[in-house]
Amino acid sequence: MFSEADLSAIWLTLKLATIVTILLMIIGTPIAWWLARTHSPFKGVISTLVALPLVLPPTVLGFYLLLAMGPNGFIGQFTQALGLGTLPFTFWGLVVASIFYSMPFVVQPIQNAIESLGKRPLEAAATLRAGPWDSFFNVVLPLAKPGFITAAILGFAHTVGEFGVILMIGGNIPDETRVVSVQIYDHVEALDYAQAHVLSLSMIAFAFIVLFSLYWFQGKRGVKVMKLGG
């Protein structure tokens, strides 16, 4: 059913989305935390910067990232100075670009979830001798869980569905940057609709299964109380 190229693209996509989601959660959470708690005058500016990639069409974002990460761009200069070479056409280039691209989808839900907790749970945790990290992992994380899950879903899905940015900076290199979305696009462009359908349907099926089990699991975990009259 799948060509070898398809399989490779699927594998690459999962790898990319997983790594990006993990990194996004690691980077996005402190940003969201800061935004939720700060009274700093820079809050507005930072919020705006985080949200900005949203508004740019992916291909445009990709275009500018290509310039910025190229040998003459400021990110490129930086990575070259570090001896890493330039990022476009590499897997890690996709990772970096996807992080920019999907950041707002991760930061916003986490920020909202933390804001809506209020300060009482944190105060209670502090009086119970929980330090900041302890409070974070054992109080904030579980209480704001829906926000974190939404963030992870949006981040993962957005990366899987990412296309324009990857197209721009990936260079369509098999095993390295040719992800499923690009592969499907190629099938469509090449008028190979049958193969496009197979790949798209698999992707939908996969997404359905992942999302569904996630929601189902979340539902299970929640406190269920049977109430019966009589």
Partner: protein
């Protein structure tokens, strides 16, 4: 009358000049939708309101004819693309064939051969030169020829195959190193146009097609680095 035409995106710049010139002398108006030929094919199948379709290749036009969406008789080749090996850096090479053989570059950009005629032409060139296997590891593919150009222009790929029309400004290649690929190394890159069934009787479509065959039009096309037939 106003018509909407679909034009392969590699032909964006010349078409803008062509439409401007056409509208100066004609009472008809032309709206242009630019995009990839594959997408236009799908859209036309779904009833897109295009009068004419200027494809980047011949395959999509043939497919439309096979689907009965256009009349074979109205088909014509409006431009023939020329392939160049180009780099953003001055004095990188003079003889592209030789330089390619040295393997002394980081990335070689080309358009995706499955999608873009310039890509399949580049592939032919590499195999004619016997460099197919050797260069493969350094390929980066753009979805279309414009993207391929960006790869090179931004310096991310040291060199690559692009359309002459992209690097030529007012009849000359503006900067960087380039090697015009000898045309015997690949099949001619013929870009075909066709009148879609919905515009069979459109006066504007007829007028525009006859304009395309005019001398003025051919001159504009040549200026942008295309050959014409």
């Amino acid at each position: 009358e106003r018509i909407t035409i679909a034009v392969a995106s590699n032909f964006t710049a010349p078409m803008k000049s062509l439409v401007a010139a056409f509208e100066q002398t004609s009472k008809h108006k032309v709206r242009v939708a630019y995009g990839s030929s594959g997408k236009f094919y799908a859209q036309i199948k779904q009833g897109a309101p295009f009068a004419l379709f200027f494809s980047a290749d011949q395959a999509k036009v043939s497919a439309l004819i096979a689907q009965g969406l256009a009349d074979e008789k109205s088909r014509f080749t409006y431009a023939v693309g020329r392939l160049v090996l180009w780099s953003n850096r001055d004095n990188l090479f003079l003889d592209g064939q030789h330089f390619l053989a040295t393997d002394n570059y980081n990335k070689l950009a080309l358009a995706n051969p499955r999608l873009a005629p310039y890509g399949s032409a580049a592939l032919e060139v590499l195999s004619s030169l016997g460099l197919l296997q050797q260069s493969k590891a350094k390929w980066v593919q753009g979805e279309n020829i414009a993207q391929t150009y960006q790869f090179i222009h931004s310096g991310n790929a040291e060199l690559g195959f692009v359309a002459l029309s992209q690097v030529m400004r007012t009849g000359k290649v503006a900067h960087g190193s380039y090697w015009q690929v000898p045309s015997q190394l690949h099949q001619p890159i013929k870009q075909d146009a066709i009148v879609l069934n919905s515009a069979k009787n459109s006066a504007a479509a007829k007028a525009f097609i006859s304009f395309m065959h005019s001398k003025a039009a051919k001159q504009i096309i040549a200026q942008y680095g295309y050959e014409h037939v």
